[in-house]
Symmetry: none
Subunit: 201 residues, 4 copies
Amino acid sequence: MRATKPTRARPSAPTEKRDAILEAALDCFVEQGFHGTAVPEVAKRAGIATGTIYHYFPSKEAMVNALYRKWKEHIARFVMTAFPPSGTPREQVSAVWRAMVEFALAHRNAFVFIELHPHRSYLDGESLAMEHRLKDFGAAMVKRAQGLGHVKAGPPALLMELVFGAFIGMMRAHWEGRFALGDEERALAEQACWDTIALHA
Amino acid sequence: MRATKPTRARPSAPTEKRDAILEAALDCFVEQGFHGTAVPEVAKRAGIATGTIYHYFPSKEAMVNALYRKWKEHIARFVMTAFPPSGTPREQVSAVWRAMVEFALAHRNAFVFIELHPHRSYLDGESLAMEHRLKDFGAAMVKRAQGLGHVKAGPPALLMELVFGAFIGMMRAHWEGRFALGDEERALAEQACWDTIALHA
Amino acid sequence: MRATKPTRARPSAPTEKRDAILEAALDCFVEQGFHGTAVPEVAKRAGIATGTIYHYFPSKEAMVNALYRKWKEHIARFVMTAFPPSGTPREQVSAVWRAMVEFALAHRNAFVFIELHPHRSYLDGESLAMEHRLKDFGAAMVKRAQGLGHVKAGPPALLMELVFGAFIGMMRAHWEGRFALGDEERALAEQACWDTIALHA
Amino acid sequence: MRATKPTRARPSAPTEKRDAILEAALDCFVEQGFHGTAVPEVAKRAGIATGTIYHYFPSKEAMVNALYRKWKEHIARFVMTAFPPSGTPREQVSAVWRAMVEFALAHRNAFVFIELHPHRSYLDGESLAMEHRLKDFGAAMVKRAQGLGHVKAGPPALLMELVFGAFIGMMRAHWEGRFALGDEERALAEQACWDTIALHA
DNA sequence: AATGAATGAGGCTTCATTCAT
DNA sequence: GATGAATGAAGCCTCATTCAT
């Protein structure tokens, strides 16, 4: 009963609870969508009371925006960290491809939420601004490779989207059990996607 | 070809109102998602009273399932009709690719709804059973091409998904204005996707 | 095509349809109550279209009032017809009792509707005015019997209600299968109800 | 017995709101029937918001079933508590009769709801199972009295129903103002109902 | 007269959010 | 901070009634 301000030793208790909320929300949104998920459902999944959510987020929309930004940043940082700036285009594509596969397998729901769900109706301006960071990065990578004569001519965005779309299709089919993503399949897919954009004799 | 007015004698055929509902629902669902769309919103966009929707569909869920099946069937029939059974693999891929592009451009919202939205939380068993018809067809096409030695070895489903995913990525980027899908881009993309699966010397 | 007014021979077609509606309504109301019954349900049970009901009754409330009056009158007339004005009180009670049993068995749903359902919330003034006709008649019968010294002293309405309530309880229990209403039981019940009000030495 | 204020410290016990809902529902159902009562009406009469009802009952049907069981149990316990197991039949009938009158006068709406309303269309199996508890008890009482030679021969259920029906008729007529239920009337009615089943020399 | 599609107010229920504890 | 009961607006759906055919 030492007055009002106890010298709290543990620094991260509040962050832990916030993370629990975001994780629960992620699972709910992936399974039922944003509008199909009730806030008390998220609270129950996070093991807290409904009202507690409103100590960490002012609204359901703020929560989904925080969730979106968290993972959008996470994946971008993860891929860019893996990127070898001085490698050949083939090496760069390979590194980025592998990073994305690694990320998607490690954070399935986050990947599904970020890449497979339409967010337009509830994202705010700041979130929307982040939407194309990774794709712009990919397009720039393609553009450089075109300059070096390793990659087909044409709109970099188009070539990049073909590869990125192929990647998403692969992951989705894997998760749906339509094929098993083993080492051989990863190598095959990576090579196939390189062939997609590569300049063939 | 008498200018603008088609030979439509009766103003309200029996299925006309049902179609108007499905069209309004399609637009709403694409913009705001199934759970984000209120039934009166669909009614208003269809130009009818809310209650009228329930003369054509027993529930909102039945409506979205009817919508899903209608377009899933439509696209499958459209693609399969364009498929040349006796063509070379290259010709077959080309024909299917062009049919899909044509369909997507002609029925943008239907394509977006069918291919870009997650439906698991509201589709019923019968709808889910249709989910992979087209993809199975594509995988069979790939398998035949593998047998003829024109296409890379590996799980047909994987190769098909790479191409299908690339196609989806292309259409989405086009609609988002990230590049313009002109004749040259179509030819480029088609060739690139053939390269994705083709067996390169 | 003889102009507008065909010389219709059949006199009672419209009445037949009206009766069909009232019969269907009676069944529905007994099973689910007035507010628990939808007008289209009555129409379907009557084998006609929903709109047709509104050619015979201006509203659902008017329909239920017509139904109430029809049967209330029917039962009152039936009982009063059976009443022997010059009989002894015992004979009168017996005659009325038997008439009521006969009516209830012949028109079960009508009896249940009239006597076992609370109507206050939808009956209009004219219907409510009929409510106690039969009971007033019964009370008068009791009063006369009191005057002759055959029946206990006390409020005629009370004695009459004891008998009438016993009668209703008997019929309900019979229909619920709690006992079988054979000849012996009818005789027993009639005597018991006479004992209820009779002046015992 | 300290005048008017019972020892109620906390103003809002946990079950107090639930009870307020049930009381409001009872009044509404008695006046307008189950289907004729809107949930917001119950809420308004209970002095709470509509949504609050759904914290205490999962549905309107669950609410009416809870209400039915509450009072059905209450009345059964009340009557059985008053029952003198070792008394003569005449004493037993008298005790039960007086208990029922006392209960009906103290809880008019509960009595009306339980005994005067048809519930078939919304009661669930568990509620229906309670329906005849009290009547079975009454029939057993009659049967014992028959064994002792104090009561007429015949189906116990029939005799019991005659008395129970008479009781209901009496209460209804009293509440409708058709006679005043004073001490003399109670004594008269009780004796009359004993005469109904008693074996007369 | 008969039909049944259409209407829209109103019913049951859910749910984002608040607030007293 | 944490709780969860309470709120009431809004969502899905029903239904009494109308009206063009």
